[in-house]
């Protein structure tokens, strides 16, 4: 494109000027929730997730349901499953941007950014 064309120059300036304004938009919490759910589903499809105990040892907090699963007298295979799959927090968070979920260490609560 010729730099001597005022219209072309205008578009180049407009594109450059418009860039910083992109900073205002944020991904909606419901989208973040859906992305997270889809990612974990994809991870699970190729083998077990990292166990809850290992997650905790890596320095992450567990939510109340994950704690229950971690201490439950079940095999490691079950513990490596994703309890969020059957949790109402996930269902609410995937559908609403201000989901009424509040307990600590739940990833879906984290996406609400309160």
């Amino acid at each position: 494109m010729s730099s001597h064309n005022p219209t072309s120059d205008f578009f180049e300036n407009l594109a450059a000027d418009a860039q910083p304004l992109e900073d205002e938009a944020k991904a909606p919490p419901s989208l973040k929730s859906r992305i997270y759910s889809a990612l974990v589903r994809l991870q699970s499809s190729s083998g077990p997730l990292l166990g809850l105990r290992e997650c905790q040892e890596a320095g992450h907090g567990l939510c109340v349901f994950e704690q229950l699963v971690r201490i439950a007298p079940v095999g490691e295979r079950l513990k490596a499953m994703n309890p969020c799959q059957v949790c109402h927090a996930r269902v609410l968070a995937e559908r609403f941007d201000n989901a009424p979920i509040y307990w600590p260490h739940c990833p879906y609560v984290k996406f609400q950014e309160r």
Binding site: M1, T7, F10, D17, Q19, E22, A25, L49, P107
Partner: protein
């Protein structure tokens, strides 16, 4: 090799590279909490990028952002920690956005009987460029929204993505001349709508 790169990053004080590499390693281990952190940390920047590039088709933004993260997971093992993870992710996003641009520009062209005379005044345009930035952006969005999709995509790809007409032609299977004609028509229509607003 990866350990070497992490050591180099640590030696050079590039702590962000170390943080990114650690996060990627945890996500690859299928640590669900790290995966949540990955989404929380990078979804805003990817969303902003996609939203700006898919205007006016904002209805496609959510699905595209999700596809980007799924594609990123599929290729995450190729991330070497040399560049910031955000840049790497935006690279994935750019490919996805360009998939969309390609699909639009490969469709049969609109206004094939376009009158070339309408382009003659293009070089003499006097477009107001002193508007406030925010107003400028809003007006640009409105004008792009009111244009045929092929025109808005052509302008976004050329000026916001800074791709040359030659690159656009190579990616869409069109000739460079055809892309230049499309861009000229798009600019002409943009200018007309801009001045009439």
């Amino acid at each position: 090799m990866e350990i070497f790169q992490q050591l180099v990053a640590a030696e050079t004080g590039d702590s962000q590279a170390g943080v990114d590499s650690a996060l990627v390693a945890a996500v690859l281990r299928k640590d669900r909490k790290a995966t949540a952190e990955f989404v929380a940390k990078y979804s805003d920047c990817v969303y902003r990028y996609v939203r700006a590039r898919l205007t006016p088709r904002l209805d496609l933004v959510d699905d595209t952002v999700q596809e980007i993260f799924l594609a990123a997971w599929e290729h995450l093992s190729t991330y070497r920690g040399i560049s910031p993870l955000q840049g790497w992710l935006l690279g994935v996003a750019r490919h996805k956005v360009e998939d969309y641009y390609r699909s639009v520009l490969r469709q049969p062209e609109l206004l094939s009987d376009f009158n070339q005379d309408e382009l003659h005044g293009e070089g003499e345009s006097e477009i107001e460029t002193s508007l406030d930035r925010k107003l400028l952006q809003e007006k640009a969005q409105r004008v792009l929204l009111s244009m045929p999709r092929q025109y808005s995509v052509a302008l976004l790809w050329r000026y916001w993505e800074q791709r040359s007409a030659r690159e656009m032609a190579a990616q869409t299977g069109r000739t460079e001349k055809a892309i230049e004609r499309l861009l000229a028509r798009a600019r002409s229509q943009f200018r007309e709508k801009w001045n009439n607003e």
